[in-house]
Amino acid sequence: MAQMGLRIARALQPVAQPVLALAATLAVAAALLALGGHSPADAFGALVQGAFGSWNRFLSFTLVQATPLLLTGLAVAVAFRAGAWNIGAEGQLLAGALAGVALAISWPEASALVLLAATFAAAAAGGAAWALVPIAMKTRMGVGEVITTLLMNFVALFLAQFLVQGPLRESRGVFNMTDEIPAAAQLAPLFPGTRLHAGFLVGLLLAGGLWLYMSRTPGGFRVRVAGASPRAAVASGRFDPARVVRWSFLASGAIAGLAGWIQVAGVTGRMYEGLSPGWGYTAIAVALLARLHPGAIVISAVVFGALGAGGGAMQRDAGVPEAWVRGTEALLILALLAVDRGFRAASKGDS
């Protein structure tokens, strides 16, 4: 009987941490809202209404916002799983978007299917190329990837600014953005009357594929070993963990690149400077909240998507500034770290 209880507790533990963190975050956020003179009930009510109030709100706002978070979250998880601290999903996302847009607007005569395949490939290649610099610096010079990937984000941002103000600027020359991509390159809505595009499906498929890959294939197993214990990987004599890490890093960049292009092809139709409000950074929280599990990243991306979608409604309907939502996201990360530390201390105390 006790054995059974133990087993259940163990099975629940991975879920318990994020749930506890979420609960703690809501409690602290409620207290802060009350201190700030807002009614927590009204604010949360508006947030939930805004995110889940109707099918259309859920599909067109929450899931649309969740899509880039899902993709970048998966990108981050792939790298983190292998022990490569890729903080550069933001830059890789921009690089991927730029590559896709550049190809799409310079090849309007291509058929839809060809253009779809080509732009996806270009975006993945763009994101991977952006990850290549930190990978090379890590391999050749031993420079830590946390710094290089972070700095490459700014390079990508400035490159995007330069391109949309110069070579890729719209032909009207009014705004700092590119021309609209050809209709053939755009992703159609999944349901008529909503804004949810096929990119979300791509994210779901990718999550499922990564889940299978990580848990069921020898390649995915190697990624996990390389991340969990490079020394054990070397000692196994079966593979070179450094190589596995490099490929995971590259794949991470490619997925982040896809996220950028999917946002353009599914939502904006154009590339402009402010394409990403920092998804590449929020992605880290998304991935960590899901404990790097591809399936759980779907859920955590939807949670963050709902926060984003509901934030606007909260501002409109409850008069709570949207900055509160950003603060809540940050709180969630802090709570996650605190809970994780708490669990660790508790399990140490046992032994």
Binding site: P218, R222, R224, R231, A232, A235, S236, G237, R238
Partner: protein
């Protein structure tokens, strides 16, 4: 040499009384008494894991004892950290130096010495001259303007010693200072230490090389498995007596030797499954293996004795095929079994369940693939079989490796590695840290493994534990300073091998 006598009436510079230090179930120091007179060089001897470094770290305030007392200059003290010890005049030169690589010698000396800096963070005027004078006084040849990362190991060590001796020092602890030095540098170091001792500082020289200690130390203390087994004036003991004290008396463990002489003829023509010829490996500047030649034959346990740090890790890695020699030829089977030294970090992944740890060795075998997928149910089945077979106390294949005791981890590792290796198994200190029962089980498995099998595999047993080598090995080599010395059948005793291990008995090796 007899500076200690000159300070005869002064209280000891440092004293440990009945000090016990435990790490979990391991007793690193067991009611150890130790006394250091002012002005003496005290040799602290013992095999790896005997407790030498632990003792030094207790004195340096880095570890607090579980029982017993620490006295500095006759006063009982409680050292909470290294700074406490430093204030009382205890300085330690660690095995791995702690210099800032990008700083010059002078900057490193000045860094942690009060008085070197003005409140505004500038060097105190005249401090540089002070440092130079002190270096000259101690006879330390140092280049104060060279960056630490450009210095040789010897130069870095001298900076480290100068750093320790810039302020008033009663006790200077050096942890294996000679391990990293060339013979000529050892001479210079010992000359410096003699000078330091003459000025009244008590010097503790932690070492496992007997000749060096005997040439410098006035008194010696020998630790064995955490216990003080011998203490007294160095001149009262021969190198051989010290060697025996360190490795223990031979107690009827030559029982295998008859069998070996009987069977060795039959083995001459047996298959060689792995061979190294003049292998040099490690860092190019200071290779850890310096021309190693050996052959591992089927059905034989080849014992490699020797104190850790003499090239053991590199030898294992070369045999396992994960380290390429710098020169020489290594012919090793692909994917041999390997029980690495650090089983928690290298052998197993603590955060993984047991079946995934078994998969680590099996995941590329066709038998455990189903198309592109890993056959987890097959792996789980194999894991259960291994757990049962090796008598591992674990709830099941889902248990995390880190939750197992060291003994059970090792049983699993043994089972896994024996299961996969058909030609060669490398076992590094396979019973370290295990209790008697678990150690016995592991040893029995190794012997059965090497004797059975069709054809039987070869086992290379690398261990500093002489008892283990003598009990298990058919043939023994001693790895000393990156070279292998053979042990003839008549030298199969702890004394003879111990002397070889400590490189105090070159004559034995040449005979």
């Amino acid at each position: 040499m007899n500076a200690a006598d000159a300070h005869g009436d002064a209280p000891p510079a440092a004293r440990l009384a009945g000090v016990t230090k435990r790490f979990g179930a391991v007793v690193a120091l067991d009611r150890v008494c130790f006394e250091l007179a002012p002005g003496e060089i005290h040799g602290l001897l013992g095999e790896n894991g005997a407790g030498k470094t632990t003792l030094a770290r207790v004195l340096a305030g880095l570890l607090s004892p579980d029982e017993g007392q620490v006295e500095i200059a006759g006063t009982s003290v409680r050292l909470r950290n290294a700074a406490d010890a430093r204030r009382l005049g205890v300085a330690m030169v660690h095995q791995h130096f702690s210099l800032v690589p990008r700083f010059t010698g002078f900057e490193n000396v000045a860094l942690f010495n009060e008085g070197a800096w003005t409140p505004r963070g500038r060097a105190t005027p005249g401090y540089r001259a002070h440092v130079e004078a002190r270096a000259a006084e101690l006879g330390l040849a140092v280049d104060l303007d060279m960056r630490a990362d450009q210095m040789s190991v010897g130069q870095r060590q001298r900076i480290e010693i100068l750093k320790a001796l810039m302020s008033e020092t009663r006790v200077l602890l050096l942890d294996e200072p000679t391990a990293v030095l060339a013979p000529k540098e050892v001479e210079r170091l010992l000359a410096v230490l003699r000078r330091v001792a003459r000025s009244g500082t008590g010097v503790v020289l932690v070492a496992h090389k007997l000749d060096e200690v005997l040439s410098a130390a006035g008194r010696v203390t020998v630790l064995r498995r955490g216990k003080q087994v011998l203490a007294g004036p160095a001149r009262d003991f021969s190198a051989r007596e010290l060697a025996v004290a360190m490795v223990g008396e031979p107690v009827g463990r030559d029982r295998f030797s008859d069998k070996i002489s009987l069977e060795s003829d039959g083995r001459e023509s047996a298959d060689v499954v792995a061979s190294l010829t003049d292998v040099v490996a490690g860092s190019p500047e200071a290779p850890s293996l310096r021309g190693v030649t050996l052959a591992a034959r089927r059905g034989e346990i080849l014992g490699v004795a020797g104190v850790e740090g003499n090239g053991q890790r590199e030898l294992a890695a070369v045999l396992a095929g994960v380290l390429q020699p710098l020169s020489g030829v290594a012919r090793v089977p692909s994917k041999p079994g390997w029980m690495p030294l650090d089983r928690g970090e290298e052998g197993l992944v603590g955060d993984f369940p047991l079946d995934e740890n078994v998969a680590l060795a099996l995941h590329d075998e066709p038998a455990f693939r189903r198309g592109p997928w890993l056959d987890w149910s097959g792996i789980k089945k194999r894991t259960k079989a291994l757990l049962a077979d090796a008598d591992v106390a674990a709830p099941g294949p889902e248990a995390f490796a880190a939750t197992l005791s060291g003994g059970n981890q090792q049983r699993l590792l043994v089972a896994r590695e024996l299961d996969r290796s058909k030609e060669l198994l490398i076992a590094e200190s396979p019973t370290r840290g295990l209790d008697v029962k678990a150690a016995r089980a592991v040893r029995r498995r190794l012997v059965e493994f090497a004797r059975n099998g069709e054809p039987p595999p070869a086992v290379v047993l690398i261990s500093p534990d002489l008892d283990e080598i003598l009990e298990l090995a058919d043939r023994i080599l001693v790895l000393v300073r990156g070279r292998l010395l053979p042990v003839g059948p008549s030298d199969r005793s702890a004394t003879a091998i111990g002397a070889l291990m400590l490189a105090a008995g070159d004559a034995v090796g040449r005979r």
